[in-house]
Symmetry: C2
Subunit: 217 residues, 2 copies
């Protein structure tokens, strides 16, 4: 299959398909018609078909979708059939919360360490994850095959840290700092801007008539 | 101006415009050409023009954008010129982190209370915010003009709580539980599904050639 660019809108929907298929699987449901799946997801059957066609299809005429197979295949597309080593920079409230979130581990995301510049935090364990000093960051990334670096630090520090680790071989940055990061194309960036999320909610509250659909953002 | 539905893609970009305008303003910049603004944002000038035209324009031919005016106007569109009272359900790591996030307060989002069913947490203060028992939830919402309810509890509990407060007059739910919520149309829902965000990052890491653009998700 030729390599083509997949829109971020589709990439946004894939984890949601994955979640619903996981729930169906947990309920022991083996297959689902294209129509029932579309009703469950709140999107049209043709949208689902189009989305999945980007990856080679998977539905069978007259059968619908095989829940377990599709779940496994979407998991592969999302790369969560592999283990990803993660570290979290910033052992504040937010970084500590992420370190303690067991759901990530279950999906193959292993949080290996927290990093902080506060000497009072270094050496301690937070939610079972050890806190390291910033001076050891580059070496730790190299020694532990770290793929994803999570930034839960203020924006100026985030820009600085991102720059300082751009050449260490990391593959992605999960960025909670309220800024865009300029990085080489080899590094994927996923932004989680909570203030902006709250502003979108505010928009949708004050503009109920201009709200549009609620899913998929 | 007639009421028309605005796509979620535009609503997603507005807070980002707002952020950049805020930074320009902080730097004392009074106006910016449509071209320079487009370069700064990493989107085309025509995209910006189209987005802002949904709200009546704002640019002036040959002048560009007045930074302070546009900042103020987008703030109004986003509804953050008003105060929004928020509560957070779930005083765990994550809810506590949100309660302590001073950036929200600065934008007019006032976190008024935490709620938890753990009797050991009730009555305590976390990051300056008092923890209340779940039994007082409905009354608290009504007495304190609460507009937004943040859910940082597991999905079964989230579904139950959302249902139990749907008729209290709340305007929005900021949902961190990993589930979709079925609610009346009068309540806006903004989902923050962190596991899904991490899966998108994973996708973009394992499919570097199919990644597409990095902004705007």
């Amino acid at each position: 299959m030729e390599q083509k660019t997949i829109s971020q809108a589709i990439i946004k929907r894939l984890p949601r398909y994955y979640r619903y298929l996981g729930e169906l699987r947990a309920q022991g449901i083996e297959r689902i018609s294209s129509n029932d799946f579309s009703k469950l997801m709140g999107v049209t059957a043709s949208q689902i078909r189009q989305d999945l066609n980007n990856f080679g299809g998977f539905g069978q005429q007259g059968y619908g979708y095989n829940v377990k197979n599709l779940y496994t295949e979407i998991g592969k597309i999302l790369g969560i059939d592999k283990v990803h080593n993660i570290i979290v920079i910033g052992a504040g409230n937010f970084g500590s919360a992420l370190a303690g979130y067991s759901d990530f581990e279950r999906r193959g995301f292993r949080i290996k360490a927290l990093f902080d510049r506060d000497k009072n935090k270094v050496g301690k364990e937070i939610n079972g994850i050890k806190v390291y000093p910033m001076e050891e960051l580059r070496q730790f990334i190299k020694d532990n095959n770290i793929e994803i670096v999570t930034l839960t630090i203020p924006k100026t520090a985030a820009i600085e840290v991102a720059k300082s680790i751009a050449d260490t071989g990391i593959k992605g940055i999960w960025n909670f700092a309220h800024t865009d990061l300029a990085l080489p194309d080899s590094i994927a960036v996923e932004n989680v801007h909570l203030s902006e999320s709250l502003m979108r909610l505010s928009y949708n509250i004050v503009n109920p008539d201009k709200r549009g659909k609620r899913y998929g953002i």
